[in-house]
Amino acid sequence: MKRRAPKAISKAKAAGPKPAPDALIDPKVLHELVELFQAAGVSDLEVERNGLRVRLRREEPGSSASVREVTVPVSDTARASSPSEGLAAAQAGEGLVTVTSPIVGVFYRSASPENDPYVEEGSYVKKGQVLCIVEAMKLMNEIESEMDGRVIKLLVENAKPVEYGEPLFLIDPMAGPEG
């Protein structure tokens, strides 16, 4: 079977609200957000606008705020093609949750062969964090976690085809960020 290396995330044009033209957020806006975040004294702040999502989170109480991630525009096509708007997650044994593939495609652990995998066994993930990519018809569909928790097991090898509903990860939602 012919396999392509994962490419950059596609910016699919689809009906509905248009994503921002660029993946990068205006630094001025970001600066204002950080100031607002610090002044408010909250531990977690998430802003989503025009397909751009920014999450700010305090690592430990008292420490300074850190920009955790700037998410690229959410692909509307990917959303439309996934039946349950995100992940189909089923309860596995002993409180573990199975993350299943919402689409038919090819499973990739990283954005490109040069990049590090999104997650490893043992990684702690936050809700909305990208776990992997499933490529379907040359579209890179980011699969996000639907919960906070620890990745207990990776069930599919990189670059392997996956079918609809195929288990991809086991996540322990009860595990904390430590240890």
Binding site: M1, K2, S81, P83, I103, V104, A136, M137, Y164, G165
Partner: protein, 449 residues
């Protein structure tokens, strides 16, 4: 020839296509919804992939998932079967654009024949026999009234995007026209998202006669005899037979010639069916063309000895037709009874678990099915569970075989159309071949279950 093809369907037709693949030495990939994980087509295919939840819109009609499945399994072609995506011009077009061969006609032919008023217009301009009616769509009640008075009542108003009996209104006299026109348009808009309608002469008791055609990629086109599908209720066929008791050799040649001309007029490729209405005076008129393999294709296979599904795959692979028109011989007589999981009196679907299934056998009997004892009939899909096909040297022998097959056939756990079939095969009018599309409704009214 292709090395591997994907079957974008389920049930008996998916099994039928897999069988053709096996005989051709082509590997098959089945796709299935979560409701069909243990289905027969999944087990018979060389590979299988789950493509979505039970809802067909998210699985068997899910174009991105099906194409992705074809891509990751490296399939060169897709057989759409019937229903689902079989007559979806967009799907055929996407397949064409990404280099996966759609086993069927071009997206252009599908789109053209899918627009019923446009097809009428094109064929009528070429002097082919369409039903008397409007040229193209009609825009107003006045226009409808003008056309109707010219062709004479009763008339039928049909949706351009329609088919299968939906979006139709019969009008017996002018007073009813305005109301029928408005409701047909509203129904067409609601059902098909397109309010276009056209007007045709309505025949009271016609026969539904259709002609099977095959055309290779070079445009060589042949006809394979007719099928009489007059035994239907609400445009759902129940029993088909070939040859038709109402068609003699001369009419058969004429029907075949016209069907081939119609196919060539739209540069048709692969297997297709041209449907005609045959009136009491043996005049026939084009109704529509089905741009796919049909449910009732096996009866044509029985009398011609030609495997239509293998022929479809060969044609799609670029091979010329394996038979010439003069070599097509109609041998004996064949019937098909559609065994549906439904209440025979009201024709309402009856899903459930098959607690026992025994297929009939012996000389001249063929059963195309995907059911087995213990299997579940999901409520998400078509109610057709088996096709009982018989072949005999004469119509009498074929009828006797069908009566025997219906007696042997056991389906327990769900209600089926088998008891109704048994009664129809005892009916004197049916036995004499005297019936029209009005037969079944009248029969059910006289013999309630």
């Amino acid at each position: 020839m292709f090395k591997k093809i994907l079957i974008a369907n389920r049930g008996e037709i998916a099994v039928r296509v897999i069988r053709a693949c096996k005989e051709l030495g082509v590997r098959s990939v089945a796709v299935h919804s979560e409701a069909d994980a243990n289905a027969l087509h999944v087990r018979l295919a060389d590979e299988a992939l789950c493509i979505g939840p039970p809802d067909a819109a998210l699985s068997y009609r899910n174009i991105p998932h099906i194409l992705s499945a074809a891509e990751i399994t490296a399939c060169e072609a897709i057989h759409p079967g019937y229903g689902f995506l079989a007559e979806n011009a967009h799907f055929a077009e996407v397949c064409e654009s990404i280099g996966i061969k759609f086993i069927g006609p071009t997206s252009h032919s599908i789109a053209l024949m899918g627009d019923k008023s446009k097809a009428r217009e094109i064929l009528s301009r070429q002097g082919l026999p369409v039903l008397p009616g409007s040229e193209g769509e009609i825009a107003s009640e006045q226009e409808a009234a003008e056309v109707a008075s010219k062709i004479g009542y009763p008339v039928i108003i049909k949706a351009s995007a329609g088919g299968g009996g939906r979006g139709m209104r019969v009008v017996n006299k002018e007073e009813e026209l305005a109301h029928a026109f408005q409701t047909a348009r509203a129904e067409a808009a609601a059902t098909f998202g397109d309010q276009g309608v056209y007007v045709e002469r309505y025949f009271l008791e016609p026969r539904h006669i259709e002609v099977q055609i095959l055309a290779d990629e070079r445009g060589r086109t042949i006809s394979l005899g007719e099928r009489d599908c007059s035994v239907q209720r609400r445009y759902q066929k129940l029993i088909e037979e070939t040859p038709s008791p109402a068609v003699d050799d001369r009419l058969r040649r004429e029907l075949g010639r016209v069907a081939v001309e119609i196919a060539q007029a739209v540069r048709y490729r692969n297997a297709g069916t041209v449907e005609f209405l045959l009136d009491k005076d043996h005049r026939f008129f084009f109704m529509e063309m089905n741009t796919r393999i049909q449910v009732e294709h096996p009866i044509t296979e029985e009398v011609t000895g030609i495997d239509l599904v293998k022929e479809q795959i060969r044609i799609a692979a670029g091979q010329p037709l394996s038979v010439k028109q003069q070599d097509v011989k109609i041998n004996g007589h064949s019937f098909e009874c559609r065994i549906n999981a439904e209440c025979p009196d009201k024709f309402t679907p009856c899903p459930g678990r098959i607690t026992r299934f025994h297929a009939p056998g012996g000389p001249g009997i063929r059963v195309d099915t995907a059911i087995e004892t213990g299997c579940e009939i999901p409520s998400h899909y078509d109610s057709l569970i088996a096709k009982l096909i018989v072949h005999g040297r004469s119509r009498e022998e074929a009828m006797a075989r069908m009566r025997r097959a219906l007696e042997e056939c056991v389906v327990e756990g769900v209600k089926t159309t088998i008891p109704l079939h048994r009664r129809i095969f005892e009916d004197p009018d049916f036995q004499k071949g005297r019936f029209s599309t009005a037969f079944l409704e009248r029969f059910c009214a006289v013999y309630p279950t």
